[in-house]
């Protein structure tokens, strides 16, 4: 941030084109890669780009550009940047912007706009993108003069990454890109009169939190996305070990507290393990850190954690009392707050409580599909569990949305933050492949695996060509069940088994890979999983593995939407059936949809 590139001549004080000032500013903000798609109103900016040390990734769709910037930001912790033209270019980015907004991802989106004199005339490719994105951005700007560009970019990066991060749109008119003005740059700290993102926790609230933690008999600590954002993993671990408090994670909190830690219960909520939710319902204290009591986490609010006092450590004051009325709100950075709490929290054993939670597990283990034999079938959960073992849990995993996303959350155990990249809040199908491309540019040495369903993959499959053009290495585990699986599961459970618009006919994905000039593999038996994963790892370019998994499998356990958190649907336990009874699967055998 704010590091002037040494290779770049210092052009402060020189007359420059607005388009040049844009890149001067981006380079000074530490940007070296942007994801975008050119078009009329952003052409001056593209023309100037070649003068700067910026790598541009040409996407196949602007939605891909915004997800790539998002994936880049999540993997690196830096601000991701995407670029598009006005009108359709800008509106195509809207889904990616909303995705970043819901998951607090720092992102700056540069959009071209029609010349300022034409604004409001319904000019060719004109869209009021600041109006469109107003509710889905942290802030946005319309820039109509070259001399506004440098300050606005500086401000945009500051707003995007400070406080609770979020996406910022900077819409720049074509004439502002073309005008010349003196380039000025300031390294002074930014002060915005109406934006004060730093909060100091109140002493009285800290005192009360310490008292509650020290008096608690049945505490549970919640680890959310804010923990990894604040870099609070270490201090959280220290606190948990000192006071022997079990930890439940949100989806975006996975990895922010090591999965292998004995105090980690795992994910809570709709597809969390039943004993995790049962522990929450019986707790006498919840210490929620960097999370926002999403409805997928709480279930029915009226019966949620009825016996627990609640401490809420959160950076965004607007989250306090939003879904759950808490006893002790602490507004502040998770790391600061935990560091202040740590010395004041007394050592505890909580042996009885921890033993009780262990007992809550009951027969969960024998119902766990991970521990069940495959009986000649290929289960998605087995594929993901095998992938976890084979990659030693060290890969960056980028998931899409649906059943595979939940199985990943259950069976790929992340020990480090920023290793699971997934659209949690918005639940954006089509996110995985482009987000993984972004992650690839952020972490060039890590193995990156995309886990994606056959539905979501086809929403942004065009970005395979981007992988090839960029010559990058991704491994794509396509969990192919011939259905929009999660919707099908809900239809099975809650809509009388009427599979309306969920059977999904797909192209031959191996041939699709082949058409892109990348390796495609097909796996239909569990015994083939390891060899395919190893081959993918050993192949230099992007590899797609088409895992033909069980078609009508469901994610267990499950809290139905709006139901009580302790009221879970368990995986039905059926003793192993006789060998040799495999299901007929016409869609895979004929390649045709005969439904």
């Amino acid at each position: 941030m704010n590091q002037p590139n040494t290779e770049l001549p210092n052009r402060v004080g020189e007359p420059l084109q607005g388009a040049q000032i844009l890149w001067e500013a981006l380079v000074r903000e530490g940007v070296d890669v942007v994801f975008g798609y050119p078009g009329g109103a952003i052409m001056p900016a593209y023309d100037a780009m070649i003068q700067y040390p910026i790598h541009h990734v040409l996407t196949r769709h602007e939605q891909g550009a915004s997800h790539m910037a998002d994936g880049y930001a999540r993997a690196s912790g830096k601000v991701g940047v995407c670029v598009s033209t006005s009108g359709p270019g800008a509106t195509n980015m809207v889904t990616g912007i909303a995705t970043a907004m819901l998951d607090s991802v720092p992102m700056v989106c540069i959009t071209g706009q029609v010349p300022s004199a034409l604004i409001g005339t319904d000019a060719f490719q004109e869209t009021d993108i600041t109006g469109v994105t107003l509710p889905i951005t942290k802030h946005n700007y319309l820039v109509t003069r070259a001399e506004q560009i440098a300050d606005t970019i500086r401000e945009a990066f500051y707003v995007a990454r400070s406080g609770r991060p979020g996406p910022v749109v900077v819409d720049i008119t074509k004439d502002a890109q073309q005008q010349r003005c003196t380039f000025e740059w300031s390294d002074a700290p930014i002060e915005l009169p109406g934006y004060r993102p730093d909060y100091t926790p109140l002493d009285s609230q800290m005192d009360e939190a310490v008292r509650l933690i020290n008096e608690a008999k049945r505490p549970v600590l919640f680890c959310g996305h804010g923990v990894s954002e604040a870099g609070a993993t270490e201090v959280l671990t220290a606190l948990v070990e000192k006071a022997q408090i079990p930890v439940a994670c949100t989806l975006l909190g996975l990895g922010a507290f090591p999965a292998s830690h004995p105090k980690n219960l795992g994910m809570m909520g709709m597809h969390g393990e039943s004993w995790v939710n049962a522990a929450i319902q019986k707790a006498d204290l919840l210490i929620a850190v960097g999370m926002r009591f999403d409805d997928r986490v709480t279930g029915n609010l009226k019966t949620y954690a009825p016996t627990a006092k609640k401490i809420h450590v959160e950076l965004d004051p607007a989250e306090i009392h939003k879904n759950v009325h808490v006893d002790v709100p602490i507004v502040g950075d998770a790391r600061d707050v935990l560091e202040q709490l740590l010395p004041r929290v007394e050592p505890r054993e909580h042996a009885e409580w921890l033993a009780h939670i262990d007992a809550l597990k009951g027969d969960s283990a024998v119902r766990d599909i991970k521990d069940l034999p495959d009986l000649g079938k290929l289960y998605a959960a087995h594929v993901i569990h095998d992938l976890y073992r084979l990659t030693k849990g060290e890969a960056i995993i980028v998931t899409d949305v649906g059943q595979h996303q939940m199985w990943e959350a259950q069976y790929y155990k992340h020990d480090l933050p920023r290793k699971l990249i997934t659209s949690g809040g918005l639940g954006t199908m089509g996110f995985a492949l482009p987000a993984a491309i972004g992650a690839r540019f952020a972490k060039r040495d890590d193995a990156v695996w995309v886990i994606v369903g056959d539905g979501g993959f086809q929403m942004t499959a065009c970005e395979l060509a981007t992988c090839v053009q960029e010559g990058i290495k991704l491994n794509i585990a396509l969990i192919n069940n011939g259905f929009l699986g999660m919707v099908r599961q809900w239809q099975e459970f809650f809509f009388g088994g009427r599979y309306v618009a969920t059977p999904l006919h797909s192209p031959d994905f191996v041939k699709l890979a082949d058409a892109h000039g990348i390796k495609g593999l097909r796996v239909t038996q569990r015994a083939e999983v390891e060899a395919a994963v190893r081959e993918a790892e050993a192949t230099p370019g992007t590899v797609l593995i088409d895992f033909r998994v069980e078609q009508e499998d469901s994610v267990y356990p499950m809290v139905p939407a709006g139901a009580d958190l302790h009221d879970m649907i368990q995986r039905p336990y059926t003793p192993p059936a006789a060998p040799g009874t495999t299901d007929h699967n016409p869609i895979f055998e004929t390649g045709e949809d005969d439904r």
Partner: protein, 180 residues
């Protein structure tokens, strides 16, 4: 949690294009129901002041305040619901009044402290400034005379007395002239 009740917020914002839209959009998307909204410039250059009256319980009022602060252009938010305030709205009410009823309508106006601002052979337009419930009372009394049209501003409100409270927010001139 307290019962939902009428809440009044004084909101100081940067005087920039689109800020009204940002505030209104926030209330809409969070389902905070606005009863009235007024916006005007102030004596401080670059600073506008809004008065928003809406229905909210205690927790919601705090969330409204916190959400308003998330808007980069919002400078200061004051929930003045429970502070002693002067609150005023202005209404123009055009009533069908012939010569026979004119005197009576004028007497009604006198009672309410309203004043006639336009007169024709068949109509009288009355201006009333006061708290919104006073205006409503006047409307009720004038209704039998046949109200032809009326228009009313949202409430504007200010806390009474107290130099301290008036100065409790930093008076922030718009620091920069560009960067809309």
């Amino acid at each position: 949690m307290t019962e939902a009740a009428s809440r009044t917020f004084a909101i100081f914002v940067e005087d920039k294009p689109g800020v009204l839209n940002r505030v209104a959009s926030l209330f809409r998307r969070r389902s905070f129901n606005i009863h009235s909204l007024n916006v005007s410039t102030t004596h401080e250059p670059g600073v506008s002041r809004m008065t928003v009256v809406c229905e909210a319980d205690g927790d919601t009022a705090k969330r409204i305040e916190a959400n308003l602060y998330k808007l980069v252009n919002v400078l200061w938010v004051d929930d003045i619901t429970h502070a002693p305030t002067v609150e005023r709205a202005l209404a123009l009410i055009k009533v069908r009044v012939g010569r026979d009823a004119r005197a009576e309508v004028l007497r009604v106006c006198e009672v309410f402290g309203a004043r006639p601002v336009d007169l024709s052979l068949e109509t009288m337009t009355v201006e009333m400034t006061g708290p919104e419930d006073h205006i409503q009372s006047l409307v009720d009394v004038l209704r039998p005379f046949e109200i032809l049209e009326m228009v009313q501003t949202g409430a504007v409100a200010m806390t009474r007395g107290s130099v301290e409270r008036a100065q409790s927010h930093p008076t922030i001139p718009a620091r920069r002239t560009h960067a809309a």
